[in-house]
């Protein structure tokens, strides 16, 4: 049969199916698609590259492992914190707090608790009941009344789909579903209902992923259209860009950034259409010792934020 089809021909009308078969490396097996990533991590690559956790002031984190599974963490943060104000100018108030945390990490169970000196308590639980079913819980308690909240998530992972149901306080209910459609493409949707604010929403998302690039798009009826594209230029460098448009409030933001993962450091930089550029550097000084520098310059509001920190363990 191979002799009938000379190599290099792109279209032989009499024998199209045969040439099509020899051109592809493997046919997509629609019964064996990979499991997609969770719906809330759709924009994971773009978020990691474009939105590092910039901070202002000093940050010191110390994590000490007592056991294979159990570890304690101490953290000191000092610096100005922005408080939301009605006027155009930003109001910053110097704050400092210490945070104590305990983590228990098991293959099936993960418990994380944090307590801060300004009266907040955080707790996170992730429990793998079976291979496919996972229960997650999240709670935050504060001194201020009506600011505490908690949320439960139930995740079910199928062969090539994932579904999630979540309930939160204030009568917040949500469900999401994502399915692998081809080897590279996965589509999903979500609905949520917030009883306290009497709001409901529905959204759709798509993610196309290959070895070299990831493109995602998300639309919601709250007015948000978010598109992102990440290209892995080499194993050390990746470039990312992001476009967010709110069609109800006519708000547009586009940003472009890079992410260099070198052996001694990780450097992320981004520039925005709001005239804001940020840069985040994590430098490995020694084994387990990381030095962090963060810079954020907003040319439009003339707001400059610089931070430095140290992470041990």
């Amino acid at each position: 049969m191979a002799g009938l089809v000379p190599p290099g021909t792109t279209a032989v009308p009499a024998d199209v199916s045969h040439t099509a078969h020899t051109k592809h490396d493997e046919k997509t097996d629609y019964m064996n698609l990979p499991c997609p990533i969770p719906y809330e991590e759709l924009h994971r690559e773009a978020l990691m590259s474009l939105k590092p956790e910039t901070f202002e002031g000093l940050r010191f984190d110390f994590t000490k492992g007592l056991n294979q599974k159990f570890s304690l963490s101490h953290s000191v943060v000092m610096g100005p914190t922005e408080i939301p104000s009605q006027s155009a100018e930003t109001i910053k108030i110097p704050t400092a707090h210490y945070e104590f945390g305990a983590n228990f990490i098991d293959p099936n169970l993960m418990l994380i608790g944090r307590v801060l000196t300004d009266g907040r308590v955080n707790a996170r639980v992730k429990w793998d009941l079976t291979d496919n079913l996972t229960v997650k819980a999240n709670a935050q308690l504060t001194n201020e009344p009506h600011m505490s909240h908690g949320m439960f998530n139930f995740d079910y992972k199928g062969k090539d789909f994932r579904s999630q149901f979540q309930m939160g306080n204030g009568a917040l209910f949500g469900a999401s579903y994502i399915q692998s459609v081809t080897q590279h493409l996965s589509l999903g949707g979500e609905v949520f209902w917030a009883g306290q604010h009497r709001k409901s929403g529905i959204g759709y998302a798509a993610r196309y992923e290959t070895d070299k690039m990831v493109a995602t798009g998300q639309v919601a009826n709250t007015g948000i259209v978010a598109l992102s594209y990440v290209q892995k230029v080499s194993d050390k460098v990746s470039l990312a860009s992001d476009f967010m448009y709110n069609y109800l409030s006519r708000d547009v933001t586009a940003s472009v950034g890079y992410d260099y993962i070198l052996r001694q450091c990780r450097l992320r930089g981004k520039i925005d259409s709001n005239g804001c550029t940020t840069s985040y550097l994590e430098e490995r000084l020694n084994m387990g010792l990381n030095f962090i520098l963060s810079a954020e310059i907003d040319h439009r509001k003339k707001d400059y934020k610089f931070g430095f920190g140290l992470t041990v363990g």
Partner: protein, 105 residues
Amino acid sequence: MAAQPKRGGVSLPERRPVSKPESNILARITSSPIVSRGKQAASDAAFVSRKLIRSTGKAAWIAGTTFLILVVPLIIEMDREQQFNELELQQASLLGAPPTAPASK
């Protein structure tokens, strides 16, 4: 002359009205239309060039600080990575070579 400047744009300052010419020859020369036009043109040129310098200065400041934040750490880190690689190469050639070979610089 247009009295209302364009909304949102930069416009030249309003022209002074021309005063009555005098009898003295020097006064007549300095208040002649050519000289007054020349003075007007010089002040307009100074105004425009001041605006240009200011906007160029602002653009240069924004470009300079953005370059400082985005590009300078990148250059420093890439340089360090290259040095680290060269050092590793040297170490590898040093350890990988048989003991008789002397240390190459």
